[in-house]
C-alpha cells in the first residue's frame, strides 16, 4: 500500500479511496497502452468551453453526494461504487438509480464523460492520467468543515451548470446552520465520536465542526488529537465524556473493528450517554445531510445537559 499510513489500519479511509495503491502497481502497463490511444481520445473528446458538460462522471463517494443533488436528469453518467453504501453515502437510495464505477481511468476512458468530479485525496494517479488524456477533472478537497460546505455546493453547481439550484441549497444550508447555532444555550457537555477500532474524530474533521455546531465540546480535539486518530479506551474512561457517539457497524459482516464499540468498559460508564446517535452516513461527507447530524446531536445534547442545567459527570 502506498504511503503505509497507520490510519489505514483503523479507518475506512483506505477503503473509501481504495484504488490509489492498485493503480500505482498497474501504472506502467497502463501508461503504455493509453499513450498510444491518447491522440485518438483527444480527437474524440468534445471541447469543454463555456456551457455545462452534458455527461459527468463522479469517482468519489463525497462528490457523488453533491453531484446527485445537483445534476440534471441524464447528466450524471455514473457514481462511485461506495455511493450505494449506507454507512458512507447518505444518498445511497438515490444512488440505486445510477450505474456505478470503481474509479479507474479505464472506465472513464470508455464512458467518455465531458467532465469528471473526484476528491483531491483519492486517485492521484488516475487524476493525473485522466488530465493527460485530456479529460476535464474537477477535484474537491476533503478537508471539510461545516463552513466549507456551502462553497462546495456552489462550486459543484457551477461545474454542473446548476448554479441557481446550488445557490438555493447552499443558502438554505447557511440559514439553517445559523438558526441551529443561534439557538444554543447553557453549558457545553463533552462528547467524543468513537469509531471502529477506537478511532476518535479529532480537530480538523467534519465531525469536530458538527459537534461544535451542536453545542458540544469535542474531547478528542481538546486533548490534542487531530484528524482520525487512535484514542485509548482507558483515556475515554478516565475523562468520562457526557456523550459517546459510536458508529454503527459498516456492514452486517462481522469484523474485530466493531468489538471496541461493544466493549464492557463503555457499557459500564453510568454517567455517559453512549449510542450511535448520528444517522448513518450523514457526516461522512460534506453535504447538506450533515445538518441531520447536527440536529441529531442537538437532541442528545438536550438530553445530556438541558438548557440552564450543569452537565452531568
Amino acid at each position: 500500500m502506498a504511503g503505509g499510513g497507520r490510519a489505514h489500519l483503523f479507518s475506512p479511509a483506505g477503503r473509501r479511496w481504495p484504488r490509489s495503491g492498485r493503480t500505482r502497481e498497474r501504472h506502467p502497463a497502463f501508461r503504455n497502452r493509453f499513450a498510444a490511444l491518447a491522440t485518438l481520445a483527444l480527437l474524440a473528446l468534445p471541447a469543454h468551453a463555456g456551457e455545462a458538460p452534458a455527461r459527468v462522471m463522479s469517482l468519489n463517494v463525497c462528490t457523488d453526494q453533491l453531484a446527485m443533488l445537483l445534476a440534471k436528469p441524464g447528466q450524471l453518467v455514473s457514481v462511485s461504487e461506495l455511493a450505494g453504501d449506507p454507512s458512507l453515502s447518505f444518498l445511497h437510495e438515490k444512488a440505486a438509480a445510477y450505474p456505478r464505477n470503481a474509479g479507474t481511468a479505464e472506465e472513464v476512458f470508455l464512458a467518455r464523460p465531458d467532465a469528471v468530479v473526484t476528491g483531491t485525496f483519492s486517485l492521484h494517479n488516475t487524476t493525473a492520467l485522466l488530465r493527460r488524456l485530456g479529460f476535464r477533472v474537477e477535484e474537491f478537497s476533503f478537508e471539510q468543515t461545516l463552513d466549507t460546505i456551502p462553497r462546495e455546493i456552489r462550486r459543484m453547481g457551477g461545474i454542473l451548470g446548476a448554479g441557481d439550484r446550488a445557490e438555493e441549497i447552499a443558502s438554505r444550508f447557511e440559514t439553517e446552520l445559523k438558526n441551529v447555532e443561534a439557538s444554543l444555550c447553557g453549558p457545553s457537555p463533552t462528547a467524543i465520536a468513537y469509531d471502529q477500532n477506537g478511532i476518535a474524530l479529532g480537530s480538523g474533521t467534519l465531525a469536530d465542526s458538527v459537534m461544535r455546531a451542536a453545542g458540544l465540546r469535542n474531547l478528542a480535539a481538546e486533548l490534542g488529537y487531530a484528524g482520525m486518530a487512535p484514542f485509548p479506551l482507558e483515556l475515554l474512561v478516565v475523562h468520562r465524556p457526557d456523550i459517546v457517539i459510536l458508529r454503527e457497524p459498516l456492514t452486517e459482516a462481522p469484523a474485530l473493528a466493531d468489538q471496541i464499540t461493544r466493549h464492557p468498559a463503555l457499557r459500564a460508564l453510568k454517567t455517559s450517554h453512549v449510542g450511535a446517535y448520528v444517522p448513518p452516513g450523514s457526516w461522512a461527507c460534506g453535504a447538506p445531510a450533515v445538518l441531520d447530524a447536527v440536529r441529531a446531536l442537538r437532541a442528545v445534547r438536550e438530553e445530556a445537559a438541558p438548557c440552564g442545567k450543569a452537565p452531568s459527570g
Partner: protein, 329 residues
C-alpha cells in the same frame, strides 16, 4: 537449582509482571488507587479501567503465555525435536484460520463457544497432520518444513477469508490474526478462552510422566508400560485446547513456546516432564513482559505483541538452527 525453588521463583516473577501489567496504561492511575479499585471498588473510572480493561489483558497474556510455553515443552519432548513449537509447526496459524473462518462467516455470533471451537478444530487438525508426518519421517528437518508449509497455507487462507469479507475493516485485521495482540480484550474473551485452556493444560501436565519415558526411546517407553496411543491423544487434545482457545481471542503469537523451554531447561534436571511447569510459567512471564514492552516502547501507537515475540524469537530460532548441527539436548 531444585525444581520447587525454580517454580517458586518463576511464580514470583509472573506475579510481579502481572502486577506491573495491571499498573501500566495510557491512563496514569496511582498504583495504590488502582489496586484498591481493582479489589474493593471506589472511583468509577479507575474501577472500570482496572476491572474491564487491564485485568482481562493481563489474564490473557498470562494464560496464553503459559499455554504456549507449556505446549512448546510438551512438543519438544514428545517429538524429541528442539525446534518444535506451536507457532513454528503451524498449529497457531491453523488455529487462527479456524477462528477467522468462524468469526468472519458470522457463526461466532450464533454461539458463545463457536469461535474457540473453530480455532480448536484448526489446531487439532494441524497437530494430527504433523504427528502423522513425524511418525513416518522422524527427522527434525521434515517436521519443521511441514510446519513452514502448514503455516504458509493457513496464513494464505486466513488472508483470503479476510480479503473476501464485505466488511472494509476485515482486511486490516490480517495483522491481528497473524501477529496476535491482547489489546482492548474484555472479560468476555477471558470467559471464552480460559476454561478451555485450563482443560488443555491439565491434559498436557498429565502427559508429563509419559514424556519422561519417551526420552529413553519409544521401545523403552513401551517397556515401562507407557501407552503410545493414549499419550498421543493427550498431546493432540492438550495442544489443541491450549493453543486453539488462546488463539481464538488473541490471534497467533509465535516463538514463546520455542524460546522458553530452552531458557529454563538448563535450570532443570533436563527431563521433559519436569520442564513442563517451569516452561508454562516462563511463557507467562515472557508474554506479560512483551505486552508491557509494547505499551512502553511506542505509547499510543501500540505494536502487536506478536511482533515483539517474533523479534525476540526469530533470531533465537536461527541461532538454534545453527547450533543444532551440534547437540542441543
Amino acid at each position: 537449582m531444585s525444581q520447587s525453588r525454580l517454580n517458586l521463583l518463576l511464580c514470583l516473577l509472573v506475579l510481579a509482571l502481572f502486577l506491573a501489567s495491571m499498573l501500566i496504561g495510557p491512563a496514569r492511575l496511582g498504583p495504590l488507587d488502582s489496586l484498591r479499585a481493582l479489589v474493593a471498588g471506589g472511583d468509577e473510572a479507575t474501577m472500570i479501567i482496572m476491572r474491564e480493561i487491564r485485568l482481562p489483558r493481563a489474564i490473557l497474556a498470562l494464560a496464553v503465555g503459559f499455554g504456549l510455553g507449556l505446549c512448546g515443552a510438551v512438543l519438544q519432548g514428545f517429538l524429541r525435536n528442539p525446534l518444535a513449537e506451536p507457532g513454528i509447526i503451524g498449529v497457531s496459524a491453523a488455529a487462527s484460520f479456524g477462528a477467522v473462518l468462524v468469526f468472519y462467516s458470522g457463526l461466532a455470533g450464533a454461539a458463545f463457544y463457536a469461535l474457540p471451537a473453530g480455532a480448536l478444530a484448526g489446531a487439532a487438525l494441524s497437530v494430527v497432520i504433523l504427528l502423522a508426518i513425524a511418525a513416518r519421517h522422524g527427522s527434525t528437518l521434515t517436521l519443521i518444513l511441514s510446519g513452514v508449509a502448514l503455516t504458509s497455507l493457513a496464513g494464505a487462507l486466513t488472508s483470503l477469508v479476510l480479503n473476501l469479507s464485505p466488511n472494509p475493516f476485515a482486511s486490516y485485521e490480517i495483522i491481528f490474526w497473524l501477529l496476535g495482540s491482547v489489546k482492548d480484550r474484555s472479560m468476555n474473551d477471558v470467559w471464552i478462552a480460559l476454561p478451555l485452556m485450563l482443560a488443555g493444560w491439565a491434559l498436557l501436565v498429565f502427559s508429563g510422566r509419559a514424556l519422561d519415558a519417551f526420552s529413553l526411546g519409544e521401545e523403552a517407553a513401551a517397556g515401562l508400560g507407557v501407552d503410545m496411543r493414549r499419550t498421543r491423544l493427550l498431546v493432540i487434545a492438550g495442544v489443541a485446547l491450549s493453543v486453539g482457545a488462546g488463539t481464538a481471542v488473541t490471534g497467533a503469537i509465535g516463538f514463546v513456546g520455542l524460546v522458553v523451554p530452552h531458557l529454563v531447561r538448563p535450570l532443570t534436571d533436563r527431563m521433559p516432564g519436569s520442564l513442563l511447569l517451569p516452561s508454562g510459567l516462563g511463557g507467562a512471564a515472557l508474554l506479560l513482559a512483551a505486552d508491557i514492552a509494547v505499551r512502553i516502547i511506542v505509547p499510543g501507537k501500540e505494536l502487536n505483541v506478536g511482533v515483539v515475540t517474533a523479534l525476540i524469537g526469530a533470531p533465537f530460532f536461527l541461532w538454534l538452527i545453527v547450533r543444532s548441527r551440534r547437540e542441543i539436548f
